[in-house]
Every structure is written in C-alpha cells, then in structure tokens.
Amino acid sequence: MKYEIHILEERCKGCGICVEICQADVLELSPEANEKGIQVPYPKKPENCLNCGMGEMFCPDFAIYVWVNDDEEEVRE
C-alpha cells in the first residue's frame, strides 16, 4: 500500500480523537481491550487513507503516523 498507517500501541491512551477526526473512515477502535484495558484503534480500511495528516496532528500522545511508501503507486477505485 502507498500509505502505511502505524499505530504505536504502547503510547496510546484510547481517547479516540483520531477515529473521530478521520474523514476517510479509515480507523476504528478495536473491540478488544489490550492488557492495559485500552481499546487501541486499528486501520479498518487502510486503502482509503488520503495522507491528510489530521489523525497524526491531533494525537496528543504521538502514537499514530503515516509512512509514505515511495516504491508503490497510489491505487484508487
């Protein structure tokens, strides 16, 4: 995929700002809690990502970022 979404689980507090702010409906809170009792978001539809940077910008814990894979081309339906 062109845009890889990385979520650093050990930093996440599960506040859900990134899920709320994402316009492309990429992220969703995971149904199961991890060992800290936090529902960490996961990329449900990573192919929708536009690399707008909003989820990364709003995260107060520096836990999510998008890495641009230069080797692959963007595929959009």
């Binding site: 890889e4 979404i5 990385h6 979520i7 650093l8 689980e9 930093r11 996440c12 507090k13 599960g14 506040c15 859900g16 700002i17 899920v19 709320e20 702010i21 995971s30 199961e32 991890n34 060992e35 960490v40 996961y42 990329p43 990573p46 990364e56 910008m57 709003f58 995260c59 107060p60 814990d61 520096f62 836990a63 970022y65 890495w67």
Partner: protein, 270 residues
C-alpha cells in the same frame, strides 16, 4: 489477543520522536485535554519552520501546563510559581539568539505573574507566550479567580469579571496576538511558526476548557465530544477588533489571528 495488520512491529519511528523523551509517553493529560494537541502543534511548527531546535528554550511553570517541559527534548526550564515570564526574560537577556517559548496557565499568568507579563510586553522583549486557558484554578470548581466565566460563581457568591486576554495583550503592546482552540490545530501550528519566526513579543491564547467542568455532570467525557463542542462553538473572526473578543457571556468562542504588525526577521544573531 487479536493482532491487526499494520498496527504492530513498526520498523520506523514517529516523525516527532527526535524532539521527545519517548520513554515517558503516553502523556499524563486527560482524554480530550487540549494540552497534548498544543504540544504536538508546537513540535510540528518547529519542524516546519526554519528555526534550529538547538536555539529554542521552553519555559513552563506549574500544574498540568507545567509538565510540558518534561516531555520536550529541548532546552527546557521549569520556573517557580509566579515567576515564569520573569525567568524567561532573564534567559532571553543572557542569550539573545535563543527563541524563548513560554507556556503559561492561569496561576502563572494572572494571579502572580501578571506584572512580569505586562513589563515584558511593554519592553517588547522577544518572547513567545503560549497561554493555555482552561478556565480553572487549582483543579477545583469553587474558587473564583480572574478567568472564572461570568456564569459561574464561588461558594461565597462572588463574581469576578474574566479578562479579555487578546485585548490585554494588545493594550500593553504585544506585536502578534492570536486565539485558537485545539480543534484549529493546523492554524495553531501556522501561528506558532509565524510567531517563532518574527522574533517579537507574541501572545497566542489556546482556549481549552478543562474537563473537570463537566466530569461530574457526565456531559463531555470523551475526546470526540470535546472536539464537537469546539466545532459547534468556535467562530472565525480574522482581524477582529480585540475589544469584541471577551468570553464573558455564554456563546461563541471567537478565534483567529488579530494582530500581526511586526517587523520581519533580521537574519539570526549568531
């Protein structure tokens, strides 16, 4: 436990990692608090602007806002109660080529540190003051202080009229005045990089009401609702006269850039 694709074993690092003490994360602030978003906007502004991180010094005081200097891997300084702006001005005087950024909260600013703020604003010292206004003092809801909203009163029934911070800053000669909420994080980032670039006394107010206000009533409890609150309430007034910006009555939060009358950057002193 379910392992989701793309969420584990990342081989790369977060772009902000070089400027953070990553072993201290996650941060201590509540879900939906605007301080974390402000810090992220500040770090992105540093990355976007041409300012060298070696020349930036962060000064903060006490309370939740005071913890900011703990997380940022820059020259950081924690000043005693009420002396934050004064200490920042001393640092600036000793090191004229530094960019000094001051993170203030209500106790540092309006209760004991207001005299220093006014002095430095009148002198035109090159400081960037980032005032995070959470409408709360010492984490209780019963004590009146200079920024209590007009609709609330203390146990004694005392009313205090809150200050209009952009107007106060303009009156004492600040050269760059803006107000944003954490929802306008992109504009906040742009404002911060502009104010860092201009090297003059700038005041940026971030209106971020503390979650303590509504935690016992159960109204706003998660970050998404807080963002919707900012979206409903904020209103863009670019270049508005600062007299019209008070938060005294219940209503819209007027945000925008109000004063931008500085000289351009003379090339760096070093």
């Amino acid at each position: 436990m379910v392992r989701f694709p793309g969420s584990k074993n990342s081989t790369h690092h977060h772009p902000a990692d070089p400027l953070l003490y990553t072993e201290l994360l996650p941060t201590v602030w509540c879900h939906g608090c605007g301080i974390g978003t402000t810090v992220h906007a500040f770090i992105q502004a540093l990355k976007d602007s041409s300012v060298e991180p070696k020349k930036v010094c962060v000064v903060s005081g006490l309370g939740c806002t005071g913890k900011i200097s703990t997380y940022i891997k820059l020259r950081s300084h924690s000043a005693p109660y009420g002396n934050v702006v004064g200490r920042a001005a001393e640092l600036k005087k000793e090191n004229p080529h530094w960019h000094v950024v001051v993170f203030l909260n209500n106790a540092d600013f309006l209760l004991t540190g207001a005299r220093d703020f006014i002095d430095e604003a009148q002198k035109g010292t090159d400081l960037m003051v980032l005032y995070i206004n959470n409408f709360l003092y010492t984490l209780n809801k019963t004590q009146a202080f200079p920024m209590s909203p007009f609709i609330r009163k203390s146990v004694d029934g005392k009313f205090d009229l809150p200050f209009n911070i952009p107007h106060l800053a303009k009156t004492y000669g600040a050269r760059y005045v803006a107000r944003w909420t954490p929802l306008q994080s992109g504009w906040l980032k742009h404002s911060l990089s502009e104010a860092l670039f201009k090297r003059e006394f700038g005041v940026i107010e971030v209106v971020s009401p503390c979650l303590m206000f509504s935690c016992d009533e159960g109204r706003i409890q998660d970050a998404g609702e807080k963002m919707k609150f900012y979206d409903d309430r904020s209103e863009f007034c670019y270049g508005e006269n600062t007299e019209n910006l008070d938060l005294r009555k219940e209503g819209k939060i007027r945000v925008g850039l109000f004063i931008e009358s500085g000289r351009p950057l003379q090339e760096d002193h070093s």
